[in-house]
């Protein structure tokens, strides 16, 4: 039902539902939620009476209570704006504050700039998958093979020569194509942790320990496959964890208005879809980059006080650093190496391998598509799996 009325809801001020008496509370909530997902500005009104207060409100006849609330909201906004102005004045007048914000700004924009090319590649790839690869084809690839399908997903991820942020739109595209969730997650984890460039960077960062490149490669694949298998065992279906917005704002239906015929039509459709996808991720990556730049400004000093602790503490610090520092999979080998004075090999390996998998910025980007509880679950699974794996590994190294 929603698929068909979706374009109409997007363009409406309100959805009025009459004869609602038979609906249970849960059903009403669901309708409200669905409409909010399609367009948060559209109101839902349950009424059989067209002269209902809320309805009148819509057409400009205001009700006193709401005017009051709006007034408070406005005052709050003015107050926040005022605080912001004072903050800015301080930043511009105090030189040391200015330099701090300036270096924050360089990191913030740096993360965004290096991500933009990859985001664009990812967006186009995602749209091409959604438009031209038939769902049946992907489904049949993944649903047949059982264990083998996970290996296939992992290897597809491995050989995708892209940075992790570029993979997020591809993951979103695959999920909207109803690709089975466990395999998509395997694909995501594998592609974010390991790609051809990563192996090269590991060899350069640890030239005296080429084993580490191999260890990173193998444990990346194993963690990815194992978490995928766990998800399979839990029988979590794609539709439960996909944010409902994404159920309706399918690229297919957006493009539906356009003819996908001829070269020109095809190009237009791809361009249109890629733009939509780009804006969708851009919002999240901006928030992600902002938070990680902020943490980068604060963390290094804080981390100093945790030096020379036991291996478990080191492990936890490294995982936290991995999540919060959001360095690219290709560059984090060098960052990891710079920790080698204070930390032992296993915690550094966990930093290097888990960094891109659990990167806060990537998780924020994924939260545009996936529900938060699922991302938490996935993070937990990855951490536990890697703890076990690296624990076994530490016997040998």
């Amino acid at each position: 039902m929603t698929g068909k009325v979706q374009p109409k809801i997007v363009n409406s001020d309100a959805v009025i539902i009459n004869r609602y008496a038979e609906l249970t509370n849960g059903e009403r909530k669901k309708i409200e939620g669905d409409v909010r997902d399609i367009n948060p500005k559209t109101k839902v009104i349950f009424t059989d009476n067209a002269k209902n207060d809320k309805l009148l409100n819509l057409f400009g006849i205001e009700n006193k209570k709401e005017t009051l609330i709006n007034g408070i909201k406005l005052n709050l906004k003015v107050f926040l704006g005022f605080l912001l102005c004072i903050g800015l004045v301080v930043i511009f007048l105090v030189p040391s504050a200015y330099t701090v914000v300036q270096s924050f700004s360089v990191v913030f924009l740096g993360i965004l700039m290096q991500a933009i090319p990859f985001l664009l590649i990812g967006s186009f790839l995602s749209v091409v998958i959604q438009l031209y690869v038939p769902s049946g084809w992907i489904l049949s690839r993944f649903s047949k093979g059982g264990f083998l399908s996970f290996l296939a997903a992992a290897f597809a991820g491995l050989f995708l020569p892209m940075c992790d942020c570029g993979t997020v739109p591809v993951v979103a595209g695959l999920l909207r194509k109803n690709t089975p969730l466990p395999q998509v997650i395997t694909f995501w984890l594998a592609s974010s942790a390991v790609n051809p460039l990563v192996i090269v960077s590991m060899l350069y960062a640890f030239p005296d320990q080429p084993m580490l490149a191999l260890v990173r490669f193998i444990s990346g694949v194993l963690i990815a496959v194992f978490v995928g298998l766990l998800l399979q065992a839990f029988k979590i279906k794609t539709q439960y964890i996909l944010k409902s917005t994404n159920r309706y704002v399918k690229i297919g239906s957006d493009i539906g208005e356009q003819s996908i015929e001829g070269v020109k039509g095809n190009c237009k459709a791809v361009l249109h879809g890629a733009r939509k996808e780009f804006f969708r991720v851009m919002e999240y990556i901006t928030i992600g980059a902002f938070i990680s730049a902020l943490l980068q400004a604060i963390l290094p000093q804080a981390a100093q006080s945790f030096l020379n602790k036991t291996i478990i503490v080191q492990f936890i610090i490294m995982i936290l650093a991995a999540m919060l520092m959001s360095t690219c999979s290709t560059s984090n080998a060098f960052i990891g190496r710079s920790f080698s004075k204070q930390f032992s090999t296993i915690p550094i390996l966990s930093f290097v391998i888990l960094g891109p998998m659990l990167d806060l910025q990537n998780l924020i980007m994924l939260s545009g598509t996936l529900k938060k509880w699922f991302l938490l679950l996935m993070t937990g699974m990855v951490i536990i799996t890697s703890l076990i794996m690296l624990g076994i590994l530490s016997i040998f190294i």
């Binding site: 559209t42 701090v100 360089v106 740096g110 290096q114 030239p207 710079s338």
Partner: protein, 268 residues
Amino acid sequence: MKRNKNMDAVMQIIVLIFISIFLLWALCSGKVNYYVHPRFKIGLWISVLILIAFILSLVPKVKKARHNSNLKHYVILFLPVFFALAFPATGVSGKSMDLSDSTQNLTLDIESNSQQNQTELSEQSEDMKENTDTTDSSLAYDQYEEDGVIKIKEAVFSNWYFDVYVNTDDFIGKRYQYLAQVYSVEDFTENQFLAGRYFMVCCAADVAGYGILCESDERSTLIDDEWIMVTGTIETTKYHGETVPILTDVIIDKSEAPEDPYIYYSYY
């Protein structure tokens, strides 16, 4: 009803124009090197073209009015625009610098990062590759000698730096000159400081500083992050129980900041 333009399209066009202008400005002025590694330049040029294509594809949509659009999403996208305008890029400050860990055997193959001296540099790096196989790794840098001082340029700095740490013995007694930034370390003595450079691997988020320990009576006149041309002879000393290289007989000349504040790693 309220508006007869597609505000979604209008906002997207504005955001895209801002991003493209910023990227173009950064690319043309060379400021892009403050934010990301030069290898991203091609990618960013292509990105600008795609963003312009996005803008062009949006123009016809402006007139197709869409009612009740949700513009809150776009507010966040103006954040980078604000920071780009309000806080123009400068070099690093307040980042930490480190001595390399001598237990790690590091050899890095730096390749050219500026196009102008690409040919010159590729010859240099070939020379260096040949020489790394020989026993004395300091020989590779002897070709840059002028008046008894071996001048280490930015293009070979990272190679040289890590060679010094790995094969310190080969370099003992030789006199080197390089452009560096000053960094103080808490447990150094009064006349000691680090003279080093900040390295970028991917983007400004992963900048890390590496320096060589220096001893000089002029220490007190130096402030952190200041640019100096440092000349000194390599010897070894003990620091936290490990043998590390140190520059002695140090001559310090204050210097201008270079165009690109970073040393760019290239490993593939």
